[in-house]
Amino acid sequence: MIRIRDLTKVYNSASGPVKALDGINLDIEKGDIFGIIGLSGAGKSTLLRCINLLEKPTSGSIEIDGVEMTSLSPRELKEMRKKIGMIFQHFNLLSSRTVWGNVAFPLEIAGFDRKAIDEKVSKLLELVGLSDKAKAYPSQLSGGQKQRVGIARALACDPTVLLCDEATSALDPETTLSILKLLKDINEKLGITMVVVTHEMNVIKQICNKVAVIERSRVVEQGTTFEVFSRPKTQTARNFLKSVLINEIPEELKTKIKALNGNLAEGRVVKIGFFGETTGKPILSEVVKKYDVNANILFGNIDHIQGVPFGTLVVQFEGKNGTADRALGHLRELGLDVEVMEIG
């Protein structure tokens, strides 16, 4: 539903041209929560702002539901923008208006009458859980409450797309989770497509079904969140993953494995990555029985991404006459990532 092709954006700054986007191609499907992650200055905000043409692309195409955004007249663009909600890192609420007034704002702009506005605003405030704050001013709200107002405001004209630029980056971890949960609920309830720009992998992990990694103005990796989490292709993706997955083997364990490797005549210490459906099956015990090996779990961690289990185990296999190696071969055939740990 959002099709981005060969999108390029060059800023003409005082110190010369800056290429903020360089040949971006993305397909975002209806109902997706599409994450865009990258380090500061990578071009994430520029990409997001090109979608609703807050930034005019230098070249390339942006199609939303078959409408080419770059060729709209100013009037058509205004109409189109009413169907694209946006929320911001710093909320960008009107300090001169109450919570109620802020949510009513886009409806006033769209020309709804008083009665329709009143009805819609109370519904929206209920949706975001702020009915009791209707008369409060933004200065009287916490960050999380402000973002809830921002979300209610963005949903006022029943958008089909919601653009989120670092929507939780100014919030504490607990509030971040509650806002992410609200976004996820809205996505499920209303089927709104969301584009979520962030520099925090946790945000991607919590709510996104797809993710694109952007680095130095280019998309360097993209896929389902599960794909990127389980088999990251770029170092950038791996670095981001470090912050959310406890994949790193503790130092003490490495020392221990080193000692084990010294003593192990016919054994292996392996790191096994479990993804998806394999996690639920008793694979390890099957292998132990079938190949008559001993399995000693040294380290383990299981997480969930998009409701799919995902984990790492460090296991010491012992067996005679090459049975350990055959057991490993079997695990590989089942589609598990098996890595023999050569430490020391």
């Binding site: 807050l54 205004k78 923008r81 946006m86 960008n92 704002f105 886009p106 004209c157």
Partner: protein, 217 residues
């Protein structure tokens, strides 16, 4: 004594009249001018470089002419506009002309204080430039604009006394005709005292309005 009081009273009323009307006219023209200066600037909602440059030059020219000289230069214009060149009503013309560009600059800088993010949010919702001006810029900048009107009014108190010198009436005129030309030092002192009180009152009143407008921020 009663005669002095009567003179002071009518001069005070004249001064208040000149300042009040000039403030209203300066706001009526100066605020839209400020909006235009702001919104046609580079990177703003109605970016128009040439218009911005022309307005900027005109505003700067008027602001660099000393008020006494402006008073004299505007005599033909005043005669054409109000049919006379002497008296309080005639004085309102140069007072307003001097205050409009000042109010314009003050409004411009008040609007610049409005968070770009808020303007952008409105644009992202499909607001037109006019809607951004009426529903975002002005409400958000209102406390600063009110503070600007206060400063303009205080400046106009000083200018109105100067306008009196060329027969504009009001406290300045009184001080010159009686205090200076007839050596009535007490009249001069009284006018100064009244001007001080006027400025204080405007400031206190302005501060109250600004405080009220920004009570939720």
């Amino acid at each position: 004594m009663a005669e002095t009081a009567r003179l002071l009273w009518s001069a005070t009323v004249e001064s208040i009249y000149m300042v009040a009307v000039s403030v209203v006219i300066a706001s009526l023209f100066g605020i839209p001018l400020g909006i235009l200066l702001y919104s046609t600037d580079r990177g703003r909602i109605l970016e128009k470089d040439w218009l911005n440059k022309i307005l900027g030059v005109i505003v700067n020219i008027f602001r660099s002419i000393p008020f006494v000289i402006l008073l004299i230069m505007l005599i033909p214009f005043t005669r054409w506009l109000v049919g006379k060149t002497i008296g309080t009503t005639a004085a309102i013309v140069p007072l307003s002309v001097a205050a409009i560009p000042f109010m314009g600059r003050i409004t411009e800088s008040a609007l610049r204080e409005v968070d770009r993010g808020v303007i952008e949010a409105a644009q992202a919702m499909g607001a037109s430039p006019l809607q951004v001006i009426t529903k975002v810029l002005i409400p958000e900048a209102l406390p600063s604009i009110a503070a600007g009107i206060t400063i303009t009014a205080i400046n106009l108190v000083g200018y109105s006394a100067m306008a009196g010198v060329i027969g504009g009436g009001g406290l300045g005129d009184l001080a010159v005709r009686y205090g200076y030309q007839r050596f009535m030092l007490d009249i001069t002192l009284y006018t100064v005292a009244i001007l001080v009180v006027m400025v204080q009152l405007i400031q206190v009143l302005g501060d109250l309005v600004v405080k009220h407008l920004s009570r939720h921020r």
